[in-house]
Amino acid sequence: MGAEQIKWIPYYGKDLSAVNMSFYEKIKKFGFCLVLDEYGGDKNSKAELAVIDTVMTCEKPNILVICAAHLMHSWYRSLVSLTGVDFKMISGASRAITYYDKDMANAYIVSDKALANNPAVLKQFASEGAAWDLIILDAGLAAGGVDVDLYIEHIKAKTQRLVVFSPIPCGYQQSYDNIRRLVKELMADEEKAGIIDSCLFDKSTAAFDLDIPMMRYFPKSVYEGNVARNVVMLRYKFDDDFLAHSRRLIDIKTGLPLYRSGGNIFEEYGLEAKKIYTKPSYNLGDVNDLRAVDKKLDCFLAKLDEVMEDDNARVAIYCTTGSTISYLKKVIQAYYPNVPNLLKIDRGDIFYTEYNDLLYESKKDVKIVITVDRIGSINPAMKKTTHVFNYEIPDTPVLLEQRAARHSVDVGTGREFILFTDDNGLFDRRMISRVLFGQVYKSIVSGLPGRNVIFDIPDSVDYIVDCIRDIQYVCGYTGEVSSARDVIVKFESDYNLASDVDVSSAARTNEYTTLKLDKIYHAFGIENSIRDLNTDEKTLRSLIKPALDRYKNCLVYLDENQRIIEISDSELKASMYNSAYNAFEQGLMNSEMFKGLEGARNELDRCDGNKSIMPVRECVDSVSDSLKLPVLLHSWRYLKDQLKVDDDLRVFMKKFNEGVI
C-alpha cells in the first residue's frame, strides 16, 4: 500500500460537484477565490476542499480562519469533524493558552473581534515572519461586505491561498477597490493577486468561468434554467369580530405595538387564551384549545401534519422571537408526543456541539428544527431540509433570501418555502407587503446578479401594489397635514421602521416616504410615469405586473440607476449552463483528485476488514503530521462505510496508537 495513494483519502465523502471542483481549480490556479452569496453547507464544502488541499501540499500548514464570533464554533465543528484537521480557536482572552511554533502546523480559528485585539499568538506569528498557507475569511451575513481594513491591519502576514466568503464583497453600492486591495495586501504571490484587477464585479460573475478567481454560481437549479423557488402560501384568517374585541398590546413608552413580527397573535393581543399560552408545557388538549383561538397555529399544524406523514421530510421553522420559539416548541412536543428525534432548537452555537460527526455515526436527523436568522450555522444537516416554514418573517428581504439560500440545493426545487398570509391583512400579510416589499430595493445587490425569494411569492404584485398605495397615502397625507401623528405611528409600526429612521414629524415622514416610493418605483423602472400620489391600483398593477413577470426564472440585479435588471432564462443557459461547464464536468473524472481518491479507495479495498489497520498505519507513518489524522479519519470512514469494519474510531485509533508503541 502506498502513502502517495492513501493521502488522497481525506477527499472521501466530500461534495465533489462540478461547482465545488471549479472552486478547487480556481484556488489552484489563482491562489485565491472570492465566493459570493453562499451560505451554510455550500460554504463549508469549499472550505473543506481548500483546507484539505493545504494540508496535503504543505508539510506544516499554517491555516487561519476568520469569522464572526458566533460562527466560530460552527466553523470549528464542521472543519474539525469533516476534515480531521485539528483547528484551535483563538478566543482572544488574556489567559488563553496559545502556542505558536514555526516548526509546527498552526491551524487557528479566530473571531474578527479577537483579531482586532491582536492576540499574542498571531502577533508572534507575524513578528517571526511566518506566512499563512491558507486564510479563509468569512464575512458571514454582513450586508456591509468584507471589513477589509480590519483584516489588513491585523493579519499582518501574507498568505499563499486566500478564500473569501461574503454575501457581497463590499457593501451595497460601494466601490470594489477595497476587496482588490485586500487581495493584494494578503496574497504573497503578487502576480496572482494582480489578477483581481481584471475581475469585474458585474453580471459576468454569474457565468461559469474558470478563468476568474471569483464565484457566484448559483444552486444546481440555476444551471437548469430554473431559479424560482417553490414558495407555498398558507392562508388563515381571524374573525374580524374577534380582533375587534381584543386588545392590542401597546408599548406604553413608545406607543408602538409591543410585538411587530406579525406571527404570533398571543404576543400581539391580550387574549383570554393566553393563560394556556403561558403554561410551561402543553398537553394535547391545550394545543387544541390554542388552535381554536390561533388560526395561524391551526393552519400551521394542518400543514405540518401533512408534511410529517413523509418519513423523509425534514422541517425547518424560522422564528424571530424567543417567545414564539418556545410556543412552537411546546406545541410540537405536545402534538407529536411519541416521535423520536422530533425537535431541536438551532441557536447556532449549541446545535451539534457533540462530536458525533467525528465518529461519523449517521446521527439521526431530527425531524423538526426551530431556528432563527443570522446564526449562519455551517451545518450539513441543513441541506436535507424539505420544508422551510417561515412562522415569523424577518425585517428585511435579505434575511428572507438567506433563509432560502442557507439550505442549499440538495433537495432542489422540491423544497417548499412556506410563507403564511392572513386575510385580515394585519399579520403576515402586513409583514410581506409592507416590511418586505416596502424594501424591495434592498432585496438584491447592485451589479452582482442574484435572486431573492420574495420575487417567487405567488401574486407578489398584490403585495407590492398594496404597499405602494399605502405609502402613497402616507406620503400624501403627511405632505398635506403637519400634525399627522396617528398616521405616522401607524406607518412606523406597519413598516417596522428602524429606530434610526426619522419620522418625528409629518415633514420628515413625507420626506422619507417620498424617498421610499422613489426607490420602489425606481426598482421597477417606472419612476417617470407614476409619480402622482394617486395612481390607481389598476395602473400600478399594469406597470408592475410585467416587470415581475420578467423577473420570473431570472437572476436579477440592480443597475447603476437602482433598477432591477434581469438576466433571462435563455441568457442564463447560454452564460452559465454553458459548454465550459459541461466540458469541465465531463473532464472531472480525469482530474488529479478524482484519480487520487480512486487510487486510495483501491488501496483500502484491498484491506482485510478488521485487520485493515496495519497496512494503513504503514502509509500514515510516512505522511506529514498534520495529514495523519485526516487520512486516518477518512480511511476509517471509508472502511466503515464500504467494508463494514466494526471498530469505532476510538478503537481504531487505539489500535493505531498501540502500534506506535
Binding site: 483547528f87 393563560k275 410551561p280 462530536y355 397635514v481
Partner: protein, 1026 residues
C-alpha cells in the same frame, strides 16, 4: 432844458414799487406814465433815478429787502443774465444769444430782444421781481443784483437805456444811468470778471454737453427754453409759439466756439412734442417735457449715441441748484452692456415761489404742496406716456436665461424717479399698472394688470451675506422656493413666479437683492435670474404680484372662514412657508388677523368644526410665538377645546383625545380630588369609569399606580390563576424564615394570579376585588394589610418559573433574595469553557519537542496564581495547539465523556515512592470526572510508572529530552479501591458517627492506563520540582 422836476422822481418810484408790491397795476402804470413823460419832456433826467438806486443799493432805501453779498453766489451770474434775457420781448421767432469772451476779463452778452422798457429797467435795477409776472419770469433772476454783486463792473445798453455800474467792495454804485440815450436795437451787456471766472464761464459754456458747468448747464438751457417758449408782449397771455428756437452762440474774441440750439420737436402732429438740444447743428439729446401749473418736467427721451457717454455723466450730476432737485437713473437701451451703465436724470422744475431763497431746494413749508403737485403731474404723465413703458424680455447672449430691458429710456426715468424720490410716494402701483411687458413669442406687450394676475412672489428678508455669498441663500430662498411655488401654480396654464431675497451685512452695511423669475408662458419657461449681477434688473415688476399665500389661502379659507382644523393647519402652514415666522396673528371677534409687513389676511375661526383636537392643538402650540399676545393664544386654545367637547360626554371626548394622540394626565383640583387634565383644562372623572378605561385614557400605568388612583377601585382587568405550582414543604424548607408559617403560605400561594398588563408589580386585592394597593417588589406589606388581602395579582403574565418565584419569595417573606429563583433556575453556574479539541484518543499520539514542553511548564507556572478553582481546572481541559492536547470533556479514568466541563476535577495525589533507595513523595494529578474524583479519595496507590519508568527516572529523563516520544505520556497506575459497606445514616448507625476501619475493606488491585496530556505532564514535572 434844466430838469426841474427831478424831485418828483423819487416819489414816483416809491409809488411804483409800492404799487408793484401791492399788485396795483393801475397805480404802477400811472407812476410809470408820469416818469416817462417827465423823462421825455426833459422835465426830469436820469440823475434822480441814479441817486434813488444808489440809495437802494447802499441800504438807504427800504426796498433793499433781505439780500446781502453772500446771498448772491457768483456762479449765478450767467443764469441771472440769461433770466433777464428771457424776461424780454422778442419780435423774432428765434431767440439768439451771443456770448463773446473778450480780453481783459470782459464778457459781452448780446441778444436780439426788442429792448428794455422803462418798467423793465426799473425792475432790473431793483431786486426786480414781479409776482404778477409768473408766466414770463423764469427761474432766473433773484435779481440783477446778484449779477452786480459778482462783477467788477457792468454795462448794459438796450433801447434808450444805458447803465454802467461798479461793484465797490460789496456796494453797488451806479456810475452812469442814461434813460434817454439814443436807441440801441437789442440788448448788449458787458461786464468784467476776474480772469479765473472768465475762463470758467467760457469753459462751462463751451462744454455744456460734456460736463455740468458751475455757471450754466444743459438742463438749465432746456428749462429756460421751456420758460420762454411763448412770445408776446409783457403781461399778455399769448399762445405758444411752437416753432420758436433758442440759440446760444459762444465766441472767443469774435471767433465762434460753439452753437447751441434748443427746439421743440414733434415727429407728427399726433405725437407728443419733445425738447431737442442741438450742438453745432446736431441733435444730441431729446427730452419729453410736461408742464402744469408752473411745474415743469423734463425726462430724457433719446440720447445721441455718439454723445451718450459724456451726456450720461452730465445728466448724472447733481442738479439741485437750479431748482431742479430730483434725480434718478437711466440705462442704455440696447445690448447686454446695459449692465455697465446705469443712470440718467428726471428733472423737475418747480415754480420759484416754492424754492428757497438760496435756490438749494424746496421751501420747507411748501413741501407738501409741491409733493402733491408733483404726484398729480406724474400721475398724469404716467397715463400719458404709458405706451412708452414697455419692458422687453430678451434672451441673453451665451445663456439660455433672459434679461429685461425697457424699450424706451423714459421707463427708466420714471421707474427710478418713483423709486428714489422723497416727494413722490405710493405712485408705484399706478406706474406699474401702466407698464406692459413684451414677452417672448407674444405679439403685443402684455399690460401689467393682465400680467400681475399671473404673478406670484415670495421674498425672504434679512439673509446674511455669508449665505448670500456661498450660494446657500440662492438655493434655499430662490431655487427651492421657486420649485415649491411651481407646484402650487401647476393648475395655472400660464404663470409667473418670482422668488427673491434681500441680504445685508450689518458690519459693512452692505446689502443687496437677488431674485429669479420664471415666466411660464405658452408652455415655455423663461428665466430671469439676477445671478449676483447688480446690472440685471427686474424693474420691480413683481411689485403687484400676489403673494403665493393668497392663491393657496383660497383653498383653505372659504367664505372668509376656516371650516375645520385641517383647514386651519393648512392655513397656518401656508403662512409659515410663505412668511417664515415673521407674521403675527391677532384676534378680534374670533377672527384671525394675520399681518405680515403690509399684507393682512382676515378670516373667521369661530365657526370651525374641530374633529381632531390634537392636530389642531399641536398646530396652535407650534405657532405659539406668532400670536400677538399670550392672551390671544389662550383664547384660541380654549376655543378649540370648547368647539371639540361641545355636545359630547366626558368619556367620549377623552377617548377621542387619546385616540388622536393627545396627552391626558391626572391633576389634583383645588379640592384635592383627581381630575383628568388635557390641554390645560380639567375634566371631572366620571364615577362609573372602569380601570381599563382609566388605563386607556391615562396610558401611563405607573402614573396611575403612583398617584394611588387605583387604590380602592375594583380590579376589573382580566386575570387568571398563576400556572406555576409550588409545594408548601419545599417553600418552607428553602426559605427558612421564622415568620413563614403554614398559614402564610396557605394565604399566599393559592391566591396568586396573573394579569397581562406587562408591569412588574403586584396588585393586592381585598374583598370584592377592590385594589388595596399596587406594590413594587420588596415594598413592605403590613400585617394589617395582609389580613385583608384576598388575591395577589402579578401584573405580568410572561414570567418564567424562576422569575415568578421571585414574586412568591417576596410575598412570603417580605423580600426577594433570589433563593427560590435560584432553586428553580436550572443551572448553578454556567460552563466557562466550550470544548474545542478532538479528544486525545481520536488522534495519533504525537511527538513533543523539548521547547513545547518548556512552554507548557511555563504556562503551568502562570496558572499558579489562579484562585478560582473552576477556571484553574478548566485549563486542563483546554488544548493549546494541534499537538499539545489536553483532556477535554473525558475522564482519564473511566472514559466518561461530557460536554459539561464543570463535571471534571483536577485531583492531586501524593504517593511515597523509592528514589535511589530512599522514599520520596511523588506528586501527580489526574483529570477525572466528579464520580471518580470522589472515589479516588479512597484509593490506595500501589505503583505508578510512566513510559515504563519509575516516576523519578521519568522526571529526569523527560526534562532532558529534545524530542519526547509518545510513550513518555503513557502512564500506568496500580491502585486499590477502599470499599465501605455501611451506608451513613442507615438505621443501625447514629447520626454523626465516624466510619471505622471495621466497615472498610480494600478492593482488588486495579490497573489504570492513562495518556497524559502534555500540559498535565508539565504539571507533574513542575509539582515535583517545587
Amino acid at each position: 432844458m434844466e430838469a426841474f422836476r427831478n424831485d418828483e422822481i423819487a416819489g414816483l418810484l416809491g409809488d411804483f414799487y409800492e404799487a408793484n408790491q401791492q399788485g396795483n397795476r393801475e397805480v404802477m402804470d400811472q407812476a410809470l406814465m408820469k416818469m416817462q413823460t417827465l423823462l421825455y419832456t426833459g422835465e426830469a433826467d436820469s440823475k434822480p433815478f441814479k441817486e434813488y438806486f444808489n440809495n437802494v443799493f447802499s441800504g438807504r432805501m427800504p426796498y433793499n429787502a433781505s439780500l446781502s453779498v453772500s446771498d448772491y453766489p457768483k456762479e449765478s451770474i450767467i443764469r441771472e443774465l440769461l433770466q433777464n434775457t428771457f424776461g424780454c420781448y422778442y419780435s423774432e421767432q428765434d431767440i439768439k444769444v451771443l456770448f463773446n469772451f473778450d480780453v481783459d476779463g470782459q464778457i459781452h452778452l448780446t441778444y436780439n430782444e426788442e429792448g428794455f422798457t422803462l418798467e423793465q429797467i426799473l425792475y432790473y435795477l431793483s431786486i426786480g421781481r414781479s409776482e404778477k409776472d409768473k408766466n414770463r419770469e423764469g427761474r432766473f433772476g433773484v435779481g440783477s443784483k446778484s449779477v452786480f454783486m459778482n462783477v467788477e463792473w457792468f454795462k448794459l445798453r438796450s433801447n434808450n437805456f444805458i447803465v454802467r455800474l461798479v461793484n465797490d467792495n460789496g456796494t453797488i454804485k451806479i456810475l452812469d444811468l442814461e434813460l434817454t440815450a439814443p436807441v440801441f436795437k437789442g440788448t448788449e451787456i458787458v461786464f468784467k470778471v476776474s480772469d479765473e471766472v472768465h475762463k470758467k464761464i467760457k469753459d462751462d459754456l463751451v462744454n455744456v454737453a460734456n460736463c455740468k458747468g458751475e455757471y450754466i448747464n444743459l438742463v438749465e438751457f432746456c428749462f429756460a427754453f421751456i420758460r420762454k417758449k411763448q412770445l408776446g408782449r409783457f403781461d399778455e397771455q399769448s399762445e405758444e409759439s411752437i416753432n420758436r428756437t433758442f440759440n446760444v452762440a459762444v465766441m472767443d474774441q469774435g471767433k465762434p466756439l460753439a452753437v447751441y440750439k434748443i427746439i421743440r420737436h414733434q415727429k407728427s402732429p399726433e405725437d407728443d412734442p419733445t425738447i431737442r438740444f442741438l450742438q453745432n447743428g446736431k441733435s444730441i439729446i431729446e427730452f419729453i417735457w410736461y408742464e402744469n401749473d408752473g411745474f415743469v418736467y423734463l425726462i430724457p427721451f433719446a440720447v445721441s449715441s455718439a454723445k451718450r457717454d459724456t451726456l450720461v455723466k452730465v445728466l448724472l450730476d447733481k442738479y439741485n441748484y437750479f431748482s431742479t432737485y430730483e434725480l434718478t437713473g437711466l440705462i442704455k437701451s440696447t445690448g447686454e452692456d446695459f449692465i455697465k451703465e446705469k443712470l440718467s436724470a428726471f428733472f423737475v422744475s418747480v415754480p420759484n415761489s416754492y424754492v428757497t431763497t438760496h435756490r438749494t431746494g424746496i421751501r420747507h413749508e411748501c413741501e407738501e404742496e409741491v409733493s402733491a403737485a408733483i404726484v398729480r403731474d406724474i400721475e398724469y404723465m404716467i397715463d400719458k406716456y404709458s405706451r412708452l413703458f414697455v419692458l422687453e424680455l430678451m434672451q441673453r447672449t451665451n445663456s439660455d436665461k433672459y434679461y429685461m430691458r425697457p424699450k424706451h429710456y423714459v421707463f427708466e426715468f420714471f421707474s427710478n424717479y418713483l423709486d428714489t424720490s422723497v416727494m413722490v410716494q405710493n405712485l408705484k402701483g399706478k406706474f406699474h399698472n401702466c407698464i406692459s411687458v413684451q414677452l417672448p413669442g407674444k405679439e403685443a406687450p402684455t399690460p401689467y394688470p393682465e400680467l400681475k394676475e399671473l404673478g406670484y412672489f415670495s421674498v425672504t428678508d434679512n439673509v446674511s451675506k455669508k449665505k448670500h455669498l456661498d450660494g446657500s441663500a440662492y438655493k434655499e430662498y430662490i431655487e427651492q422656493e421657486l420649485d415649491r411655488m411651481a407646484a402650487d401654480v401647476t393648475d395655472m396654464p400660464e404663470n409667473i413666479i418670482m422668488a427673491a431675497y434681500n441680504w445685508h451685512d450689518e458690519e459693512n452695511e452692505e446689502e443687496g437683492r437677488e431674485f429669479c423669475y420664471r415666466f411660464n408662458i405658452d408652455g415655455k419657461t423663461y428665466v430671469l435670474d439676477s445671478e449676483k449681477n447688480p446690472a440685471i434688473r427686474d424693474y420691480d415688476i413683481s411689485f403687484g404680484f400676489r403673494s403665493i399665500v393668497s392663491l393657496k389661502l383660497g383653498k383653505y379659507v372659504v367664505n372668509d372662514a376656516v371650516a375645520d382644523e385641517e383647514a386651519l393647519i393648512n392655513t397656518l402652514n401656508l403662512f409659515d412657508t410663505m412668511y417664515g415666522k415673521e407674521y403675527k396673528i391677532g384676534m378680534k371677534y374670533y377672527q384671525f388677523i394675520v399681518k405680515y409687513r403690509d399684507i393682512q389676511h382676515n378670516f373667521d375661526v369661530a365657526r370651525m368644526n374641530v374633529t381632531n383636537l390634537e392636530k389642531a392643538y399641536s398646530a396652535i402650540v407650534a405657532h405659539k410665538n406668532v400670536f400677538e399676545s399670550h392672551q390671544v393664544y389662550n383664547e384660541v386654545i380654549n376655543m378649540l377645546l370648547n368647539s371639540f367637547t361641545q355636545g359630547k360626554d366626558t368619556m367620549t371626548f377623552l377617548r377621542e383625545i387619546k385616540e388622536q394622540g393627545g396627552n391626558i394626565t391626572l391633576q389634583l383640583d383645588i379640592n384635592k380630588k383627581f381630575r383628568f387634565a388635557a390641554y390645560g383644562k380639567q375634566f371631572m372623572i366620571p364615577s362609573s369609569i372602569t380601570n381599563a378605561d382609566l388605563l386607556e385614557i391615562i396610558g401611563d400605568v405607573y402614573a396611575l399606580i403612583n398617584c394611588g388612583m387605583f387604590n380602592g377601585r375594583v380590579f376589573d382587568f382580566p386575570f387568571t390563576k398563576a400556572g406555576y405550582s409550588f409545594e408548601k414543604a419545599s417553600l418552607m424548607s428553602m426559605l427558612r424564615s421564622a415568620d413563614l408559617t403554614d398559614e402564610k403560605v396557605q394565604a399566599v400561594v393559592p391566591n396568586l394570579y396573573i394579569c397581562d398588563l406587562k408591569i412588574p408589580r403586584i396588585a393586592l386585592l381585598g374583598e370584592k376585588d377592590k385594589i388595596i394597593r399596587i406594590v413594587d417588589l420588596n415594598e413592605p406589606i403590613t400585617e394589617e394589610e395582609r389580613k385583608t388581602i384576598v388575591r395577589y395579582i402579578i401584573l405580568k403574565d410572561d414570567l418564567s418559573k424562576p422569575e415568578f418565584a421571585k414574586y412568591v419569595e417576596y410575598l412570603l417573606v417580605g423580600e426577594n433574595n433570589n433563593i427560590l429563583a435560584q432553586f428553580y433556575s436550572s443551572t448553578e453556574e454556567p460552563n466557562q469553557v466550550v470544548l474545542d479539541q478532538i479528544p486525545y484518543y481520536y488522534k495519533p499520539l504525537p511527538y513533543i519537542t523539548g521547547s513545547e514542553l518548556k512552554f507548557l511548564r511555563d504556562q503551568y507556572k502562570k496558572l499558579g496564581d489562579l484562585t478560582n478553582d473552576r477556571i484553574y481546572r478548566n485549563y486542563f481541559a483546554k488544548d493549546v495547539n494541534s499537538k499539545l492536547f489536553g483532556y477535554g470533556g473525558i475522564c482519564s479514568c473511566c472514559g466518561y465523556e461530557s460536554t459539561i466541563i464543570n463535571n471534571f476535577i483536577v485531583k492531586d495525589f501524593e504517593v511515597g515512592m523509592f528514589k535511589d533507595e530512599t522514599e520520596e513523595k511523588f506528586r501527580f494529578s489526574l483529570y477525572m470526572c466528579a464520580n471518580d474524583s470522589f472515589e479516588a479519595s479512597g484509593w490506595i496507590i500501589e505503583d505508578i510508572s510512566i513510559g515504563g519508568m519509575n516516576p523519578f527516572v521519568w522526571l529526569e529523563e523527560i526534562v532532558n529530552c529534545d524530542v519526547i516520544p509518545p510513550e513518555f505520556l503513557l502512564c500506568t497506575i496500580k491502585y486499590r479501591n477502599q470499599i465501605t459497606y455501611d451506608i451513613i445514616g442507615s438505621e443501625t448507625r447514629e447520626l454523626g458517627e465516624t466510619v471505622s476501619s471495621d466497615s472498610v475493606s480494600e478492593g482488588e488491585q486495579k490497573t489504570m492506563d492513562i495518556t497524559l496530556s502534555p500540559l498535565m505532564a508539565a504539571k507533574w514535572i513542575e509539582d515535583n520540582h517545587r
